[in-house]
């Protein structure tokens, strides 16, 4: 689905990423591991068009693309979720429908999609709540619903279970496999053993700026 022949990223004179021949398959879950500061979040941000990098010969569905300027086709296909997702100060339902409104989806169709996404994430009862009143786990599930409702081809999740524990973490872990079943490719930067050991998840390790498949 997404192939990048070479991706390099520097901070000043310091090289951070030097990724060669990076390929993501469709409807597959990947975990991206690596030491703190290895560049996991940076790589996801580059793929999401939120950080610049030098990219040579990238292709999406076999069609050559550039990441700068970030093409609308990738913007529609790829959604990024922060490690600590930030919510807009409207309602939960309004947050989940944000991307649909941005894409001009008709109101009735958007409302239906938002209901389904809230149901999927188990946050139907929170629809009118302000996000500031939500727990960390609830926020993460709302953020996942906000991303999933856009039916992304590629979903980039930065440490989706970080700072979650107990039931909240279990609930988020249970949602991940359903994303790939729905047809999305999911790349998760993480340290979470349970996430790494989820069945069917491909492992990628970022070491010295390069990606090793494991």
């Amino acid at each position: 689905m997404l192939h990048i022949a070479r991706l390099t990223k520097r901070y000043g004179a310091l090289p951070l990423l030097d990724v060669h021949d990076f390929l993501l398959e469709g409807a597959t879950a990947y975990v991206l591991t690596g030491m703190n500061g290895a560049g996991k979040s940076t790589l996801l941000r580059v793929l999401a068009g939120l950080a610049p990098a030098e990219v040579q010969d990238a292709a999406f569905d076999g069609v050559p693309v550039r990441l700068e300027p970030y093409p609308p086709a990738l913007r529609r296909a790829i959604v990024y979720v922060h490690q600590h997702p930030v919510m807009f100060s409207t309602s939960v339902a309004d947050n989940i429908g944000y991307g649909l409104r941005a894409r001009g989806v008709p109101r009735a169709e958007a409302a239906q999609a938002v209901e389904e996404a809230m149901d999927w994430a188990g946050v139907l009862h929170l629809r009118r709540h302000k996000p500031a009143t939500l727990s960390g786990g609830e926020k993460q599930r709302v953020a996942l619903a906000r991303a999933k409702v856009l039916q992304p081809r590629l979903l980039l999740l930065d440490e989706p279970t970080a700072s979650l524990d107990g039931e909240a973490r279990e609930q988020v872990l249970a949602l991940i496999p359903t994303l790939t079943h729905a047809g999305s490719t999911v790349v998760m930067a993480c340290h979470d053993r349970d996430l790494i050991n989820l069945p069917g998840v491909q492992r990628l390790k970022l070491r010295d700026g390069r990606i090793e498949s494991r």
Partner: protein, 235 residues
């Protein structure tokens, strides 16, 4: 006249609807609100653009905006007077000693306040807000609308501060407006004139109106902010 007599007479003027006094209040409010209505969209857009962009000379622009905050209004009045006077580059407009002239002055006075406050509010916003909007497919305009909505209390504070600055300034309104009774006499120029004549009652009455306006504006902001805090606090 004792101070007490002046205060009693001030309340009498206010409560009996003295037409001269309320005309002065109307001139002040209408020119200030119009000036603010013109300046606010420009400044909010400008503040957002400066906060979100990286360009050569950005720090110099911010420095100039912040320096303009402390520009004496009498200096703005002097410059505007020269521009609007018969032989000035804008003399053909015939706006000197007129309400449109005062409005132009109010716009120039309000712009730096609104710009600086909006800039500060947008810069203080969580950078993930704009990224989240972008990552979910928002256009540049929608990102801006989203971010300005998220920092709306900062923008409201900017507007209220801008209003406070324009309605309370005296130097520019005096020089450009000319303090013409019933035409360009504002609250502040009237207070200055009445005080110089030793007529304190009208000055006190107008001062009370200014205080009431300040209390009402800031009270409204506090209520709105209070609602937002209460919403955050509801679990």
């Amino acid at each position: 006249m004792t101070l007490l007599d002046a205060v009693v007479q001030a309340f009498h003027l206010l409560l009996t609807g003295d037409p001269v006094l309320w005309r002065i209040v109307w001139v002040s409010l209408s020119t200030s609100i119009l000036g603010l209505a013109i300046a606010a969209p420009l400044a909010v857009l400008g503040g957002y653009a400066i906060a979100m962009s990286q360009f050569r000379g950005r720090r110099i622009v911010i420095w100039l905006v912040q320096a303009a905050l402390s520009l004496p209004t009498v200096l703005i009045g002097l410059l505007l007077y020269m521009m609007l006077s018969r032989h000035g580059p804008m003399g053909g407009l015939q706006w000197l000693f007129s309400q449109p002239g005062i409005v132009v002055g109010q716009v120039i006075i309000a712009l730096p306040v609104l710009l600086a406050f909006t800039l500060a509010a947008v810069q203080a916003a969580d950078p993930r807000l704009a990224e989240t909007a972008i990552a979910h497919g928002a256009s540049s305009w929608r990102v801006m609308a989203t971010l300005l909505f998220e920092v709306r209390f900062g923008v409201m504070a900017a507007v209220i501060s801008g209003f406070g600055r324009v309605i309370s300034e005296v130097g520019c309104a005096m020089m450009v407006g000319g303090n013409i009774a019933g035409e360009t006499r504002t609250i502040t120029t009237a207070i200055a004139l009445e005080t110089s004549k030793g007529e304190f009652a009208q000055g006190i009455a107008l001062g009370l109106v200014l205080v009431a306006i300040a209390l009402a504006m800031n009270g409204a902001l506090m209520v709105l902010q209070g609602d937002a805090h209460a919403a955050r606090g509801r679990a």
